[in-house]
């Protein structure tokens, strides 16, 4: 920037008076350095000040405000300030800014103490929980109403959700389950080889995949894939007032948005789990053959003895519960969105975190119950 394009200020003081010569472009781009200088500038003399502004070549509102602010600060110290030679159009701008000048209100609200924020967090948590309960209740009544009038069930929406949450999840869930099977067999192989118990790799892979890992893994992937999508979709609809529009048209958002998702997921997740069972065991088989020399025939022979039907059913049986958790949490978080794009992001994060948390809690409960029932 040349000297012409920055704001300048020179103070000329003699016995009688102080003259402040301003020059250059007093614009938002040109006043940065001058502003820093003004912070520390000491004004000589005691009496009247004359600001000679004839050489100011450009002035905008930011520059006018800086000039105005400087004049005000001087006047507060009891000095008389006169501005000379300012071009008429600049003078008009200066008057305008002076008329509108206000002190900005402090934006930062007072911060709460530790105790208060703990209280607020707890209260918000409790509200969230009661809201979730109310939401489950609403969904259940909507489900009962739909079952009473089966033609109100949105089959098309259910099929669409089956496609997006189920069929389209096949590649990723299959691949991850296969790799999980490989990893388990690989980790187990060393230990089993040491005892010469190679064939027990079947028990290890079969039981762990079918009972625990495959349903859990599938549910977690679907929570990340579809649960987040549910929240983002419903949340965006909330922001654009589409949910309110549905209500005024007389279509319950529960019936149109929540039930199809939940029903589709309750159908899709057990099926996906069967599929990941197969993929996981396949991964284990491949690893068992290459690392332990257990052929596919031996593996499948042993599989029938090692894994009982109940183990398989236990795994599949958890899936609908996980599905309900994912759909309910995802949709509930979507309805909790308020106002802005920010809120959509926050609720989507919460949706995934909470559904995975609840899935693992539910899995632990299942383990305790099955242990108790001795299955």
């Amino acid at each position: 920037m040349t000297a012409e394009q920055v704001a300048q200020l020179v103070i000329e003081a003699d016995m009688a008076s102080v003259v402040v010569r301003c020059a250059g472009a007093w614009t938002v781009q040109g006043i940065a350095r001058l502003e820093q200088r003004l912070e520390t500038l000491s004004w000589p003399g005691e009496g009247d000040l004359v600001i000679d502004a004839a050489a100011i070549s450009a002035l905008d509102t930011a520059g006018a405000w800086l000039l105005q602010r400087t004049v005000r600060a001087l006047e507060q110290r009891g000095r008389n300030v006169r501005i000379n030679g300012l071009r008429p159009e600049f003078n008009a701008l200066l008057q305008l800014v002076a008329a509108r000048a206000v002190t900005p209100e402090p934006a930062a609200p007072a911060r709460d103490g530790l105790l208060a924020s703990i209280g607020q967090h707890t209260w918000r948590g409790l509200l969230g929980m009661s809201g979730m309960l109310a939401f489950i209740g609403e969904s259940a009544t909507a489900l009962l109403r739909s079952l009473a009038q089966p033609r109100r069930i949105r089959w098309r929406a259910i099929l669409h959700n089956l496609q997006t949450a189920g069929v389209e999840a096949l590649p990723i869930t299959g691949l991850l389950a296969f790799l999980m099977g490989v990893v388990i067999a690989y980790q187990g192989a060393d230990q089993l080889q040491r005892f010469g118990a190679n064939i027990f790799i079947v028990d290890l892979v079969g039981l762990s995949m079918l009972r625990e890992l495959s349903p859990l893994l599938t549910a977690i992937i679907v929570a990340g894939r579809s649960g987040s999508a549910y929240t983002a979709q419903i949340g965006t609809m909330k922001v654009t007032e589409e949910i309110d529009a549905l209500r005024t048209i007389g279509v319950g958002p529960q019936e149109l948005l929540v039930l199809p998702k939940m029903l589709a997921l309750i159908i899709a997740l057990p099926l996906l789990t069967v599929y990941t069972d197969v993929a996981g065991v396949l991964g284990g088989m491949v690893m068992a053959r290459s690392k332990l020399g257990v052929s596919f025939e031996d593996f499948l022979d042993r599989f029938e003895d090692a894994v009982s039907l109940s183990s398989y059913l236990v795994g599949i049986g958890k899936a609908p519960v996980f599905a309900a958790i994912i759909a309910l949490v995802g949709c509930y978080r979507g309805f909790q969105v308020s106002g802005s794009a920010d809120s959509v992001g926050r609720q989507t994060t919460l949706s995934v975190v909470q559904s995975i948390f609840l899935i693992i809690v539910a899995d632990a409960l299942f383990s305790i119950i099955f242990n108790w029932l001795d299955i």
Binding site: Q5, V28, R69, A101, A107, G339
Partner: protein, 263 residues
């Protein structure tokens, strides 16, 4: 800031063609906006007014033609090359496009923070001046956009658009969605800003009251062409059927009578 060879026009559009797929939006459109005037672009819904505006402010690319802003060709500029130009104009979007996660004062201050080296204190003060200039009360600064009414949000968006003291201001439907009282407030605001800050204003609107009360010159866009350019009085005497429809429809007549009564 370099001053390129200036033909006197702030915005100059020559032979602009725009197509979306096979749909022709603009066909050899030419326009000139002069310094210091309030220029309005009008036309029915879907005639490509907003598209033209978006092309001028480099959000969209036309098929062919030339758009010069401050004498500089804007088509084909990279983001880096466009930055000096973008600092010289301000844009107010139809729905405000305020950042919802920031307060009004932060929305205005953000522009200053990005493009200047001013201290935080001065930025806050300048932002407060801009907010006051648009007629918002001082307590609007610390509020979030979601806490404001529609009219106040438009004013806040205008405050952000003038944050860098632009020479050229683009307004997309400044009064759309406002009640008549707020809308007439915006009319006065547009004129007073032009007078106070020496702005050139280019706006897209179909608010006839706003046109009668503020616009120096108006261009009517229809069927992909500029159907007519002139003052409102000139245009209201035009023989073109589409322009007549625009001005002599029931709403057009009421606005014109109102305008003549107040004159």
């Amino acid at each position: 800031m370099e001053q390129p060879q200036n033909t006197g026009a702030v915005v100059e559009i020559r032979d602009l063609n725009t197509r979306f797929g096979t749909a022709v939006v603009h066909e050899s459109v030419s326009l000139t906006v002069r310094p210091g005037e309030i220029f309005a672009l009008v036309g029915g819904s879907g005639c490509g007014k907003s598209t033209l505006l978006r092309e001028i402010i480099l959000l969209q690319q036309p098929v062919s033609g030339s758009i010069r802003v401050f004498g500089r060709e804007v088509l084909g500029l990279s983001d880096e090359q466009a930055l000096p130009l973008r600092r010289r104009w301000g844009v107010m979007f139809e729905r405000g496009a305020l950042f919802n996660s920031l307060t009004v004062a932060e929305n205005v201050g953000m522009v200053l923070r990005e493009h200047t080296q001013l201290s935080a204190r001065l930025i806050d003060e300048v932002a407060a001046v801009k907010i006051a200039l648009t007629g918002l009360p001082a307590d609007a600064g610390p509020k979030y956009p979601s806490e404001l009414s529609g009219g106040m949000r438009k004013r806040a968006a205008l405050a952000r658009a003038i944050a860098l003291d632009p020479e050229l201001l683009f307004l997309d439907e400044p009064t759309a969605g406002l009640d008549p009282l707020s809308a007439s407030g915006i009319d006065e605001l547009v004129v007073s800003l032009r007078d106070a800050l020496g702005l050139t204003i280019m706006m897209v609107t179909h608010d006839l009251d706003l046109l009668w009360r503020t616009a120096d010159r108006v261009a009517v866009l229809g069927e992909g062409h500029i159907l007519g350019v002139g003052t409102m009085t000139e245009l209201s005497q035009s023989e073109h059927p589409l322009i007549r429809e625009f001005f002599y429809g029931p709403r057009g007549r009421a606005a014109r009578e109102q305008a003549w009564k107040t004159k």
